[in-house]
Symmetry: C2
Subunit: 229 residues, 2 copies
DNA sequence: ATGGCCCAATCATCCTACAACTTTTAAAAG
DNA sequence: CTTTTAAAAGTTGTAGGATGATTGGGCCAT
């Protein structure tokens, strides 16, 4: 059996290797990578070739270059960057509907697959929400609330779903902030969280999906009223 | 309010312009773009700068270069390429669960927002399935079936959701082929499609979600039995 | 300490040259 | 005239060098 020769261009090879370095966390997010001159030697390619590879990853959102300063690792994967770009362009209403879709499914999966560790994480998130609420710390509360929802999605144990969900949260952060601060003197209804937690704990998928739905229905209504203004 | 100075590099500017050309279909998918020498003049930048811009878009999956031949437009948007890459790496089980999440939500939305045009498209897809089934044309049937599900998602009228769903279908195509050809002498249960169509027509969101769920549960079970082998 | 200046490091852009590959053209062979 | 072969032209890939622009740190005078 004769195989086709895999003729990857040098640029692609270099880019793939750098991606691998980032993926394996040998180059960690936030860290500065070696300067061009050094990388030229290490990869044994010309300046042009190296720069094209780096530029490709910069455009993909994995790296960020600053003239005069250097190049740093910005993100671990491409999908995250691409999704963020798209979510930003989408309307808030569409984003919420997608969030409902993903989070509902995640909650059902969580009810099936949740581990003791997942439950502990969920409880910790709820406790953080309580504390933030007691101290009237709105920012902290939003962060904790989002952490709770992230924990639900993580408990679902579906990597692809997690990858898709993650970028949504960041975009929603600013929005939720608006709702809470604008809408009403913010008060924490703990029941929304604990009901969901109980459903996941007792592995009642149907109830878990129901609670997510009723919670996000409120969010959706807030979005729609905001759009009317 | 002080704004940051927008200091876009030449490469970014060129890349953005090319992306725009592709997005606006002035450069259509499959068509060959002008050679480097020509683009250098048009953008009034050096070859390096132009090449870095093109390379970024090649890496993103929008363009494809072949040495000695030229560069062609490969895809209209970045998300599609990035998602495909990720979905390919994900397990089939995870992919199916994500598909359930998106398609269920889309079906509910479709029940609310469907237009007469959407209904006509759904009916046409069902008819195509029937014809393919009568002629025992498996490939054609799978294509028609996928078209039906795409039509459902499109009827949901959520661009972000559509963007996320689209890449899943391609990956699932080959898989569905395996199920049908391998599992049993393939027979078309028209009820699955018509029930869903009726639910969407009568705007019964709950029933629509239910039919999607029961349909995809079968798919999921097939995936799980295949994985055991 | 503060502000201004210089200097080294680093990325940005441009240029030229050549190699590798593809397509077209034209010549040569039948 | 058709087919084959070879040359030529066109296009992308890689290399190396040169200069400009920006950043960050160190030095010095105030």
């Amino acid at each position: 059996m004769i195989q086709k020769i895999n003729r990857m261009s040098l640029v692609e090879q270099v880019a793939a290797q750098i991606e691998e370095l980032i993926q394996s966390e040998q180059w960690t997010v936030g860290a500065k990578i070696p300067p061009e001159t050094e990388l030229m030697e290490q990869f044994a390619v010309s300046r042009n070739t190296l720069r094209e590879a780096i530029r490709a990853l910069v455009h993909a959102g994995l790296l960020e270059t600053k003239q005069g300063s250097g190049t740093i690792v910005r993100s671990k994967n491409t999908l995250d960057a691409a999704l963020k770009k798209y979510v930003k362009k989408a309307t808030m209403l569409e984003t919420v509907d997608v969030r409902i879709a993903l989070e509902k499914q995640a909650a059902e999966l969580a009810a099936h697959h949740r581990t003791d560790q997942d439950l502990a994480q969920l409880e910790a998130s709820i406790k953080a929400c309580q504390q933030a609420a007691e101290q009237d710390d709105v920012d902290q509360f939003i962060a904790s609330d989002i952490n709770f929802h992230k924990a639900v999605v993580h408990a679902g144990n579906n990597q692809l779903l997690i990858q898709l969900y993650e970028p949504l949260t960041e975009v929603l952060y600013a929005f939720i902030q608006d709702i809470i601060t604008l809408d009403k003197p913010f008060q924490y209804e703990e029941g929304l969280h604990t009901d969901l937690l109980d459903a996941i704990r007792t592995q009642d998928a149907e109830a878990a999906a129901h609670y997510i739905e009723s919670y996000l229905k409120i969010v959706k209504e807030n979005v729609m009223t905001m759009m009317e203004e």
